[in-house]
Assembly symmetry: C2
Homo-oligomer: 257 residues x 2
Amino acid sequence: MTKATAGEPPPEDPRKNQRAEPRPGTAAWWLARESEPARQRRRRSLTLDAVLDAAMTLLDTRGAAALTMRNIADALGCTQASLYRHVRNREELVTLLIDRAIAVASAVPPDGADWAEKAAWSARLFREHLLRHPGVASLLRGTERLGPNSLAGMQYSLDLFIGAGLNPRLASAAASSLATFVLGSVHLNLGLDMSDPEESRHRRLLFRSRDAAAFPLLVQHADTLAEVSSDDEFEVGLNALLTGFRALIQNSDITRD
Amino acid sequence: MTKATAGEPPPEDPRKNQRAEPRPGTAAWWLARESEPARQRRRRSLTLDAVLDAAMTLLDTRGAAALTMRNIADALGCTQASLYRHVRNREELVTLLIDRAIAVASAVPPDGADWAEKAAWSARLFREHLLRHPGVASLLRGTERLGPNSLAGMQYSLDLFIGAGLNPRLASAAASSLATFVLGSVHLNLGLDMSDPEESRHRRLLFRSRDAAAFPLLVQHADTLAEVSSDDEFEVGLNALLTGFRALIQNSDITRD
DNA sequence: ACCTGAACACCGTTCAAGT
DNA sequence: ACCTGAACACCGTTCAAGT
Protein backbone atom coordinates (compact mmCIF):
# COMPACT_ATOMS: atom_id res chain seq x y z
CA MET A 1 0.00 0.00 0.00
CA THR A 2 2.68 2.49 -1.03
CA LYS A 3 1.17 5.86 -1.73
CA ALA A 4 4.06 7.21 -3.75
CA THR A 5 3.93 10.99 -3.87
CA ALA A 6 6.35 13.56 -5.15
CA GLY A 7 8.65 14.56 -2.36
CA GLU A 8 8.39 11.19 -0.71
CA PRO A 9 11.55 9.15 -0.34
CA PRO A 10 10.79 6.00 -2.30
CA PRO A 11 9.78 3.06 -0.10
CA GLU A 12 13.11 1.53 -1.08
CA ASP A 13 12.34 -1.93 -2.27
CA PRO A 14 15.10 -4.33 -1.17
CA ARG A 15 15.70 -5.36 -4.77
CA LYS A 16 16.12 -2.11 -6.72
CA ASN A 17 13.13 -1.51 -8.98
CA GLN A 18 13.41 -4.96 -10.43
CA ARG A 19 10.81 -4.87 -13.18
CA ALA A 20 8.47 -2.81 -10.99
CA GLU A 21 5.86 -0.74 -12.80
CA PRO A 22 7.50 2.59 -13.63
CA ARG A 23 6.18 5.60 -11.79
CA PRO A 24 3.95 7.97 -13.78
CA GLY A 25 5.98 10.76 -15.33
CA THR A 26 9.26 8.89 -15.68
CA ALA A 27 10.70 8.37 -19.14
CA ALA A 28 10.08 4.65 -18.82
CA TRP A 29 6.43 5.28 -18.05
CA TRP A 30 5.84 7.60 -20.99
CA LEU A 31 7.57 5.06 -23.23
CA ALA A 32 5.58 2.13 -21.89
CA ARG A 33 2.27 3.91 -22.45
CA GLU A 34 2.88 4.06 -26.20
CA SER A 35 3.41 0.36 -26.63
CA GLU A 36 0.10 -0.56 -25.06
CA PRO A 37 -2.14 -0.79 -28.09
CA ALA A 38 -4.73 -3.11 -26.61
CA ARG A 39 -5.94 -0.55 -24.10
CA GLN A 40 -7.51 1.79 -26.60
CA ARG A 41 -8.37 -0.61 -29.42
CA ARG A 42 -11.82 -1.73 -28.41
CA ARG A 43 -14.76 0.53 -28.79
CA ARG A 44 -16.05 1.24 -25.32
CA SER A 45 -18.67 3.44 -23.81
CA LEU A 46 -16.21 5.14 -21.52
CA THR A 47 -12.96 6.42 -23.00
CA LEU A 48 -9.81 7.81 -21.46
CA ASP A 49 -10.46 11.10 -23.22
CA ALA A 50 -13.87 11.38 -21.63
CA VAL A 51 -12.36 10.73 -18.22
CA LEU A 52 -9.71 13.40 -18.73
CA ASP A 53 -12.29 15.86 -20.06
CA ALA A 54 -14.44 15.41 -17.01
CA ALA A 55 -11.40 15.73 -14.76
CA MET A 56 -10.35 18.93 -16.50
CA THR A 57 -13.68 20.70 -16.11
CA LEU A 58 -13.84 19.55 -12.52
CA LEU A 59 -10.37 20.94 -11.85
CA ASP A 60 -11.19 24.25 -13.50
CA THR A 61 -14.58 24.77 -11.93
CA ARG A 62 -14.13 23.36 -8.45
CA GLY A 63 -10.40 23.31 -7.86
CA ALA A 64 -7.72 20.75 -7.10
CA ALA A 65 -9.31 19.59 -3.86
CA ALA A 66 -12.45 18.55 -5.74
CA LEU A 67 -10.53 16.41 -8.21
CA THR A 68 -11.48 13.08 -6.66
CA MET A 69 -12.24 9.79 -8.30
CA ARG A 70 -15.75 9.94 -6.89
CA ASN A 71 -16.45 13.36 -8.35
CA ILE A 72 -15.07 12.40 -11.73
CA ALA A 73 -17.18 9.24 -11.76
CA ASP A 74 -20.27 11.20 -10.76
CA ALA A 75 -19.70 13.71 -13.55
CA LEU A 76 -19.50 10.83 -16.00
CA GLY A 77 -22.39 8.89 -14.54
CA CYS A 78 -20.33 5.80 -13.81
CA THR A 79 -18.78 4.26 -10.73
CA GLN A 80 -15.34 4.98 -9.35
CA ALA A 81 -14.21 1.47 -10.13
CA SER A 82 -14.79 2.03 -13.84
CA LEU A 83 -12.17 4.76 -13.89
CA TYR A 84 -9.49 2.25 -12.97
CA ARG A 85 -10.04 0.57 -16.29
CA HIS A 86 -8.54 3.60 -18.05
CA VAL A 87 -6.02 4.69 -15.48
CA ARG A 88 -3.94 2.75 -13.01
CA ASN A 89 -3.81 5.41 -10.33
CA ARG A 90 -4.99 8.82 -9.44
CA GLU A 91 -1.36 9.84 -9.91
CA GLU A 92 -1.43 8.52 -13.46
CA LEU A 93 -4.65 10.38 -14.14
CA VAL A 94 -3.13 13.63 -12.88
CA THR A 95 0.01 13.17 -14.97
CA LEU A 96 -2.01 12.67 -18.14
CA LEU A 97 -4.37 15.48 -17.23
CA ILE A 98 -1.61 18.01 -16.65
CA ASP A 99 0.22 17.16 -19.85
CA ARG A 100 -2.97 17.80 -21.73
CA ALA A 101 -3.68 21.02 -19.86
CA ILE A 102 -0.31 22.41 -20.94
CA ALA A 103 -1.18 22.36 -24.64
CA VAL A 104 -1.20 26.14 -24.90
CA ALA A 105 2.59 26.08 -24.94
CA SER A 106 2.45 25.08 -28.57
CA ALA A 107 0.89 28.39 -29.64
CA VAL A 108 3.21 30.22 -31.97
CA PRO A 109 4.26 33.83 -31.31
CA PRO A 110 3.77 36.57 -33.93
CA ASP A 111 6.14 36.44 -36.87
CA GLY A 112 8.87 38.98 -37.37
CA ALA A 113 9.87 39.08 -33.72
CA ASP A 114 13.44 38.21 -32.78
CA TRP A 115 14.22 35.21 -30.59
CA ALA A 116 14.09 37.18 -27.33
CA GLU A 117 10.72 38.71 -28.12
CA LYS A 118 9.39 35.31 -29.07
CA ALA A 119 10.68 33.73 -25.88
CA ALA A 120 9.15 36.50 -23.80
CA TRP A 121 5.86 36.18 -25.63
CA SER A 122 5.69 32.44 -25.02
CA ALA A 123 6.69 32.77 -21.38
CA ARG A 124 3.98 35.37 -20.75
CA LEU A 125 1.41 33.26 -22.54
CA PHE A 126 2.32 30.21 -20.48
CA ARG A 127 2.14 32.20 -17.26
CA GLU A 128 -1.24 33.71 -18.10
CA HIS A 129 -2.55 30.28 -18.98
CA LEU A 130 -1.47 28.93 -15.60
CA LEU A 131 -2.89 31.93 -13.77
CA ARG A 132 -6.21 31.31 -15.46
CA HIS A 133 -6.05 27.66 -14.42
CA PRO A 134 -4.62 27.70 -10.90
CA GLY A 135 -5.69 24.11 -10.34
CA VAL A 136 -3.41 23.03 -13.14
CA ALA A 137 -0.54 25.09 -11.76
CA SER A 138 -0.93 23.55 -8.33
CA LEU A 139 -0.59 20.05 -9.76
CA LEU A 140 2.44 20.67 -11.99
CA ARG A 141 5.35 18.62 -10.68
CA GLY A 142 7.65 18.02 -13.59
CA THR A 143 6.07 14.65 -14.34
CA GLU A 144 4.63 16.17 -17.49
CA ARG A 145 8.01 17.28 -18.85
CA LEU A 146 8.20 14.31 -21.18
CA GLY A 147 4.56 14.32 -22.24
CA PRO A 148 3.68 15.09 -25.87
CA ASN A 149 2.68 18.68 -25.21
CA SER A 150 5.78 19.49 -23.21
CA LEU A 151 7.92 17.88 -25.88
CA ALA A 152 6.26 20.11 -28.47
CA GLY A 153 7.15 23.11 -26.35
CA MET A 154 10.70 21.81 -26.03
CA GLN A 155 11.09 21.28 -29.76
CA TYR A 156 9.85 24.83 -30.29
CA SER A 157 12.17 26.47 -27.79
CA LEU A 158 15.16 24.39 -28.83
CA ASP A 159 14.57 25.68 -32.33
CA LEU A 160 14.39 29.20 -30.97
CA PHE A 161 17.54 29.09 -28.85
CA ILE A 162 19.62 27.07 -31.30
CA GLY A 163 18.57 29.52 -33.98
CA ALA A 164 19.74 32.30 -31.71
CA GLY A 165 23.19 30.76 -31.52
CA LEU A 166 23.30 28.39 -28.54
CA ASN A 167 24.51 24.82 -28.78
CA PRO A 168 21.91 22.12 -28.06
CA ARG A 169 22.99 21.60 -24.48
CA LEU A 170 22.80 25.26 -23.58
CA ALA A 171 19.63 25.72 -25.60
CA SER A 172 17.99 22.93 -23.63
CA ALA A 173 19.14 24.38 -20.32
CA ALA A 174 17.96 27.85 -21.29
CA ALA A 175 14.55 26.57 -22.37
CA SER A 176 14.14 24.62 -19.15
CA SER A 177 15.25 27.58 -17.06
CA LEU A 178 12.63 29.73 -18.64
CA ALA A 179 9.89 27.17 -18.02
CA THR A 180 11.20 26.71 -14.49
CA PHE A 181 10.98 30.42 -13.84
CA VAL A 182 7.44 30.69 -15.17
CA LEU A 183 6.25 27.77 -13.10
CA GLY A 184 8.02 28.98 -9.96
CA SER A 185 6.51 32.40 -10.39
CA VAL A 186 2.97 31.07 -10.60
CA HIS A 187 3.51 28.48 -7.92
CA LEU A 188 5.00 30.85 -5.38
CA ASN A 189 1.89 32.97 -5.58
CA LEU A 190 -0.69 30.21 -5.48
CA GLY A 191 -1.53 30.54 -1.82
CA LEU A 192 -1.76 34.31 -2.00
CA ASP A 193 -4.38 36.80 -3.04
CA MET A 194 -2.51 39.78 -4.40
CA SER A 195 -5.69 40.58 -6.28
CA ASP A 196 -7.24 41.25 -2.90
CA PRO A 197 -6.64 44.95 -2.14
CA GLU A 198 -6.71 44.15 1.55
CA GLU A 199 -3.68 41.90 1.16
CA SER A 200 -1.50 44.78 0.05
CA ARG A 201 -2.64 46.85 3.05
CA HIS A 202 -2.00 44.03 5.50
CA ARG A 203 1.36 43.41 3.95
CA ARG A 204 2.30 47.03 4.54
CA LEU A 205 1.18 46.73 8.14
CA LEU A 206 3.20 43.56 8.56
CA PHE A 207 6.41 45.08 7.17
CA ARG A 208 5.95 48.26 9.20
CA SER A 209 5.50 46.41 12.47
CA ARG A 210 8.69 44.34 12.19
CA ASP A 211 11.49 44.84 14.66
CA ALA A 212 13.49 47.71 13.17
CA ALA A 213 16.76 46.34 14.54
CA ALA A 214 16.40 42.94 12.86
CA PHE A 215 14.57 44.05 9.68
CA PRO A 216 15.62 47.65 9.02
CA LEU A 217 15.03 47.52 5.27
CA LEU A 218 11.60 45.93 5.57
CA VAL A 219 10.49 48.65 7.97
CA GLN A 220 12.09 51.47 6.01
CA HIS A 221 10.67 50.45 2.62
CA ALA A 222 7.44 48.91 3.82
CA ASP A 223 5.23 50.95 1.52
CA THR A 224 7.26 50.19 -1.59
CA LEU A 225 7.66 46.50 -0.79
CA ALA A 226 3.97 46.03 -0.11
CA GLU A 227 3.17 47.18 -3.61
CA VAL A 228 5.57 45.02 -5.59
CA SER A 229 3.23 42.68 -7.41
CA SER A 230 3.73 39.22 -8.77
CA ASP A 231 3.58 40.77 -12.25
CA ASP A 232 6.43 43.13 -11.41
CA GLU A 233 8.55 40.30 -10.08
CA PHE A 234 7.88 38.24 -13.15
CA GLU A 235 8.78 40.96 -15.62
CA VAL A 236 12.01 41.83 -13.84
CA GLY A 237 13.06 38.18 -13.67
CA LEU A 238 12.03 37.47 -17.25
CA ASN A 239 14.04 40.39 -18.58
CA ALA A 240 17.04 39.42 -16.49
CA LEU A 241 16.93 35.86 -17.78
CA LEU A 242 16.71 36.97 -21.39
CA THR A 243 19.51 39.47 -20.92
CA GLY A 244 21.59 36.67 -19.47
CA PHE A 245 20.82 34.41 -22.41
CA ARG A 246 21.84 37.20 -24.78
CA ALA A 247 25.19 37.45 -23.05
CA LEU A 248 25.56 33.68 -23.20
CA ILE A 249 24.98 33.75 -26.95
CA GLN A 250 27.59 36.43 -27.50
CA ASN A 251 30.02 34.44 -25.39
CA SER A 252 29.51 31.25 -27.35
CA ASP A 253 29.94 33.22 -30.56
CA ILE A 254 33.44 34.03 -29.40
CA THR A 255 34.33 30.60 -28.08
CA ARG A 256 32.63 28.75 -30.92
CA ASP A 257 34.34 25.45 -31.63
CA MET B 1 -17.15 22.15 4.70
CA THR B 2 -15.00 24.17 2.31
CA LYS B 3 -11.66 22.49 1.86
CA ALA B 4 -9.82 25.55 0.60
CA THR B 5 -6.67 24.51 -1.20
CA ALA B 6 -4.20 26.47 -3.25
CA GLY B 7 -5.38 26.49 -6.80
CA GLU B 8 -8.98 26.32 -5.83
CA PRO B 9 -11.24 29.18 -6.85
CA PRO B 10 -12.43 30.56 -3.52
CA PRO B 11 -15.92 29.38 -2.54
CA GLU B 12 -17.04 32.97 -3.10
CA ASP B 13 -18.97 33.93 -0.04
CA PRO B 14 -21.90 36.18 -0.99
CA ARG B 15 -20.62 38.88 1.37
CA LYS B 16 -16.95 39.32 0.49
CA ASN B 17 -14.72 37.98 3.27
CA GLN B 18 -16.62 39.95 5.84
CA ARG B 19 -14.61 39.32 9.01
CA ALA B 20 -13.98 35.73 7.95
CA GLU B 21 -10.90 34.07 9.45
CA PRO B 22 -7.98 34.91 7.17
CA ARG B 23 -6.50 32.05 5.21
CA PRO B 24 -3.15 30.70 6.43
CA GLY B 25 -0.27 32.42 4.66
CA THR B 26 -1.99 35.71 3.93
CA ALA B 27 -0.54 38.87 5.44
CA ALA B 28 -3.63 39.20 7.63
CA TRP B 29 -3.09 35.73 8.99
CA TRP B 30 0.58 36.20 9.83
CA LEU B 31 -0.35 39.48 11.53
CA ALA B 32 -3.20 37.96 13.51
CA ARG B 33 -1.02 35.15 14.83
CA GLU B 34 1.25 37.60 16.63
CA SER B 35 -1.50 39.27 18.59
CA GLU B 36 -2.71 36.03 20.10
CA PRO B 37 -0.76 35.94 23.34
CA ALA B 38 -3.16 33.71 25.25
CA ARG B 39 -2.47 30.70 23.10
CA GLN B 40 1.08 30.12 24.23
CA ARG B 41 1.02 31.59 27.73
CA ARG B 42 -0.11 28.62 29.74
CA ARG B 43 2.26 25.86 30.48
CA ARG B 44 0.94 22.78 28.73
CA SER B 45 2.17 19.30 28.21
CA LEU B 46 1.82 19.56 24.45
CA THR B 47 3.29 22.62 22.74
CA LEU B 48 3.07 23.93 19.21
CA ASP B 49 6.81 23.46 18.86
CA ALA B 50 6.55 19.82 19.77
CA VAL B 51 3.81 19.36 17.19
CA LEU B 52 5.90 21.03 14.49
CA ASP B 53 8.98 19.03 15.46
CA ALA B 54 7.08 15.78 15.15
CA ALA B 55 5.61 16.91 11.84
CA MET B 56 9.05 17.81 10.53
CA THR B 57 10.67 14.48 11.30
CA LEU B 58 7.65 12.72 9.87
CA LEU B 59 7.91 14.75 6.67
CA ASP B 60 11.62 14.09 6.34
CA THR B 61 11.56 10.40 7.12
CA ARG B 62 8.32 9.25 5.53
CA GLY B 63 7.44 11.93 3.01
CA ALA B 64 4.62 14.34 2.36
CA ALA B 65 1.98 11.64 1.99
CA ALA B 66 2.66 10.42 5.53
CA LEU B 67 2.17 13.88 7.02
CA THR B 68 -1.28 13.17 8.46
CA MET B 69 -2.84 14.35 11.68
CA ARG B 70 -3.08 10.74 12.83
CA ASN B 71 0.60 10.04 12.27
CA ILE B 72 1.65 13.24 14.01
CA ALA B 73 -0.56 12.42 16.96
CA ASP B 74 0.80 8.88 17.12
CA ALA B 75 4.38 10.16 17.10
CA LEU B 76 3.51 12.44 20.02
CA GLY B 77 1.48 9.85 21.89
CA CYS B 78 -1.68 11.95 21.91
CA THR B 79 -4.94 11.93 20.00
CA GLN B 80 -5.62 13.74 16.76
CA ALA B 81 -8.09 16.01 18.45
CA SER B 82 -5.38 17.40 20.71
CA LEU B 83 -3.53 18.78 17.73
CA TYR B 84 -6.42 21.10 16.95
CA ARG B 85 -5.71 22.91 20.18
CA HIS B 86 -2.46 24.23 18.69
CA VAL B 87 -3.43 24.55 15.09
CA ARG B 88 -6.72 25.41 13.44
CA ASN B 89 -6.22 23.33 10.31
CA ARG B 90 -3.86 21.00 8.63
CA GLU B 91 -3.28 23.88 6.22
CA GLU B 92 -2.19 26.09 9.10
CA LEU B 93 0.12 23.40 10.39
CA VAL B 94 1.74 23.06 6.99
CA THR B 95 2.20 26.81 6.64
CA LEU B 96 3.96 27.04 10.00
CA LEU B 97 5.97 23.92 9.32
CA ILE B 98 7.27 25.12 5.97
CA ASP B 99 8.24 28.54 7.26
CA ARG B 100 10.28 26.84 9.92
CA ALA B 101 11.83 24.39 7.49
CA ILE B 102 13.13 27.27 5.40
CA ALA B 103 15.38 28.61 8.15
CA VAL B 104 18.55 27.71 6.27
CA ALA B 105 18.03 30.78 4.09
CA SER B 106 19.43 32.89 6.90
CA ALA B 107 22.88 31.33 6.66
CA VAL B 108 25.42 33.96 5.70
CA PRO B 109 27.75 33.46 2.72
CA PRO B 110 31.53 33.76 3.09
CA ASP B 111 32.83 37.26 3.53
CA GLY B 112 34.80 39.01 0.84
CA ALA B 113 32.60 37.82 -1.99
CA ASP B 114 30.90 40.40 -4.18
CA TRP B 115 27.10 40.64 -4.33
CA ALA B 116 26.75 38.24 -7.27
CA GLU B 117 28.89 35.56 -5.66
CA LYS B 118 26.92 35.93 -2.45
CA ALA B 119 23.61 35.67 -4.26
CA ALA B 120 24.79 32.58 -6.12
CA TRP B 121 26.06 31.03 -2.90
CA SER B 122 22.73 31.56 -1.14
CA ALA B 123 20.72 30.31 -4.09
CA ARG B 124 22.76 27.11 -4.28
CA LEU B 125 22.49 26.60 -0.54
CA PHE B 126 18.73 27.02 -0.66
CA ARG B 127 18.43 24.62 -3.55
CA GLU B 128 20.58 21.98 -1.89
CA HIS B 129 18.54 22.32 1.26
CA LEU B 130 15.32 21.73 -0.66
CA LEU B 131 16.81 18.79 -2.54
CA ARG B 132 17.76 17.21 0.77
CA HIS B 133 14.20 17.77 2.02
CA PRO B 134 11.96 17.00 -0.94
CA GLY B 135 8.92 16.80 1.29
CA VAL B 136 9.42 20.43 2.20
CA ALA B 137 9.86 21.41 -1.44
CA SER B 138 6.66 19.67 -2.43
CA LEU B 139 4.68 21.66 0.14
CA LEU B 140 6.09 25.11 -0.66
CA ARG B 141 3.29 27.26 -2.03
CA GLY B 142 4.23 30.85 -1.33
CA THR B 143 2.19 30.89 1.87
CA GLU B 144 5.46 31.05 3.79
CA ARG B 145 6.72 34.16 2.00
CA LEU B 146 5.69 36.36 4.90
CA GLY B 147 6.81 34.06 7.69
CA PRO B 148 9.68 35.10 9.96
CA ASN B 149 12.29 32.97 8.22
CA SER B 150 11.33 34.15 4.74
CA LEU B 151 11.36 37.73 5.95
CA ALA B 152 14.87 37.22 7.28
CA GLY B 153 15.91 35.98 3.85
CA MET B 154 14.20 38.98 2.28
CA GLN B 155 15.94 41.44 4.57
CA TYR B 156 19.22 39.79 3.69
CA SER B 157 18.75 39.84 -0.06
CA LEU B 158 17.32 43.35 -0.07
CA ASP B 159 20.49 44.41 1.67
CA LEU B 160 22.51 42.60 -0.93
CA PHE B 161 20.76 43.99 -4.01
CA ILE B 162 20.33 47.52 -2.68
CA GLY B 163 24.00 47.46 -1.78
CA ALA B 164 24.72 46.41 -5.34
CA GLY B 165 22.93 49.47 -6.66
CA LEU B 166 19.26 48.58 -7.22
CA ASN B 167 16.41 50.65 -5.86
CA PRO B 168 14.17 48.92 -3.28
CA ARG B 169 11.49 47.99 -5.80
CA LEU B 170 13.92 46.35 -8.21
CA ALA B 171 15.88 44.79 -5.38
CA SER B 172 12.72 43.19 -4.08
CA ALA B 173 11.77 41.92 -7.51
CA ALA B 174 15.25 40.57 -8.12
CA ALA B 175 15.32 38.78 -4.78
CA SER B 176 11.91 37.24 -5.40
CA SER B 177 12.89 36.20 -8.92
CA LEU B 178 15.89 34.37 -7.59
CA ALA B 179 13.84 32.55 -4.96
CA THR B 180 11.21 31.81 -7.60
CA PHE B 181 13.80 30.29 -9.87
CA VAL B 182 15.27 28.11 -7.13
CA LEU B 183 11.89 26.84 -6.09
CA GLY B 184 10.76 26.23 -9.66
CA SER B 185 13.94 24.33 -10.37
CA VAL B 186 13.48 21.99 -7.44
CA HIS B 187 9.75 21.67 -7.94
CA LEU B 188 9.95 20.82 -11.63
CA ASN B 189 12.16 17.88 -10.82
CA LEU B 190 10.24 16.52 -7.86
CA GLY B 191 8.44 13.79 -9.73
CA LEU B 192 11.59 12.67 -11.53
CA ASP B 193 14.55 10.48 -10.70
CA MET B 194 17.47 11.89 -12.61
CA SER B 195 19.65 10.18 -10.04
CA ASP B 196 18.37 6.93 -11.50
CA PRO B 197 20.80 6.02 -14.31
CA GLU B 198 17.99 4.16 -16.05
CA GLU B 199 16.04 7.39 -16.37
CA SER B 200 18.70 8.96 -18.57
CA ARG B 201 18.73 5.87 -20.79
CA HIS B 202 14.96 5.79 -21.11
CA ARG B 203 14.95 9.48 -21.84
CA ARG B 204 17.36 8.94 -24.73
CA LEU B 205 15.14 6.17 -26.04
CA LEU B 206 12.11 8.41 -25.77
CA PHE B 207 13.72 11.29 -27.66
CA ARG B 208 15.10 8.97 -30.33
CA SER B 209 11.77 7.36 -31.01
CA ARG B 210 9.85 10.60 -31.60
CA ASP B 211 8.42 11.38 -35.00
CA ALA B 212 11.33 12.99 -36.84
CA ALA B 213 9.01 15.21 -38.84
CA ALA B 214 7.35 16.76 -35.81
CA PHE B 215 10.32 16.72 -33.44
CA PRO B 216 13.44 16.93 -35.61
CA LEU B 217 15.63 18.53 -32.94
CA LEU B 218 14.65 16.08 -30.23
CA VAL B 219 15.55 13.16 -32.47
CA GLN B 220 18.74 14.74 -33.77
CA HIS B 221 20.11 15.73 -30.36
CA ALA B 222 18.59 12.91 -28.34
CA ASP B 223 21.88 11.86 -26.75
CA THR B 224 22.82 15.36 -25.68
CA LEU B 225 19.37 16.23 -24.40
CA ALA B 226 19.07 13.05 -22.37
CA GLU B 227 22.16 14.00 -20.44
CA VAL B 228 21.30 17.57 -19.49
CA SER B 229 20.81 17.32 -15.77
CA SER B 230 18.78 19.40 -13.38
CA ASP B 231 22.08 20.74 -12.04
CA ASP B 232 23.09 21.93 -15.50
CA GLU B 233 19.78 23.65 -16.01
CA PHE B 234 20.05 25.33 -12.66
CA GLU B 235 23.55 26.66 -13.20
CA VAL B 236 22.74 28.02 -16.64
CA GLY B 237 19.62 29.76 -15.38
CA LEU B 238 21.30 31.07 -12.25
CA ASN B 239 24.15 32.60 -14.22
CA ALA B 240 21.74 34.11 -16.72
CA LEU B 241 19.68 35.69 -13.96
CA LEU B 242 22.73 37.18 -12.26
CA THR B 243 24.07 38.47 -15.55
CA GLY B 244 20.71 40.09 -16.12
CA PHE B 245 20.76 41.68 -12.70
CA ARG B 246 24.24 43.02 -13.37
CA ALA B 247 22.99 44.68 -16.54
CA LEU B 248 20.02 46.07 -14.64
CA ILE B 249 22.36 47.62 -12.09
CA GLN B 250 24.48 49.26 -14.76
CA ASN B 251 21.34 50.60 -16.38
CA SER B 252 20.01 52.12 -13.18
CA ASP B 253 23.41 53.66 -12.60
CA ILE B 254 22.90 55.57 -15.80
CA THR B 255 19.29 56.52 -15.29
CA ARG B 256 19.69 57.18 -11.58
CA ASP B 257 17.23 59.80 -10.36
C1' DA C 1 -15.47 -8.06 -21.99
C1' DC C 2 -17.01 -4.58 -19.44
C1' DC C 3 -19.15 -2.43 -15.47
C1' DT C 4 -21.17 -2.39 -10.68
C1' DG C 5 -21.86 -2.77 -5.50
C1' DA C 6 -19.93 -3.15 -1.64
C1' DA C 7 -16.31 -3.26 1.09
C1' DC C 8 -11.48 -1.95 3.05
C1' DA C 9 -8.24 0.97 5.13
C1' DC C 10 -7.43 5.22 5.25
C1' DC C 11 -8.27 10.77 5.55
C1' DG C 12 -9.47 15.78 8.24
C1' DT C 13 -12.48 17.59 11.57
C1' DT C 14 -15.85 18.03 15.37
C1' DC C 15 -17.79 17.58 19.90
C1' DA C 16 -19.86 15.71 23.95
C1' DA C 17 -17.89 13.64 27.70
C1' DG C 18 -14.32 12.78 30.94
C1' DT C 19 -10.47 14.37 34.37
C1' DA D 1 -8.44 23.94 31.53
C1' DC D 2 -6.97 20.41 28.99
C1' DC D 3 -7.39 15.99 26.69
C1' DT D 4 -9.97 11.80 24.98
C1' DG D 5 -13.25 8.56 22.46
C1' DA D 6 -16.07 8.14 19.22
C1' DA D 7 -18.26 9.59 15.51
C1' DC D 8 -18.99 12.02 10.79
C1' DA D 9 -18.32 12.69 6.06
C1' DC D 10 -15.12 12.09 3.20
C1' DC D 11 -10.76 9.75 0.53
C1' DG D 12 -8.20 5.98 -3.08
C1' DT D 13 -8.34 1.29 -4.25
C1' DT D 14 -9.81 -3.58 -4.76
C1' DC D 15 -12.57 -7.46 -6.12
C1' DA D 16 -16.18 -10.77 -6.31
C1' DA D 17 -20.28 -10.70 -8.60
C1' DG D 18 -23.31 -9.37 -12.20
C1' DT D 19 -24.55 -8.63 -17.40
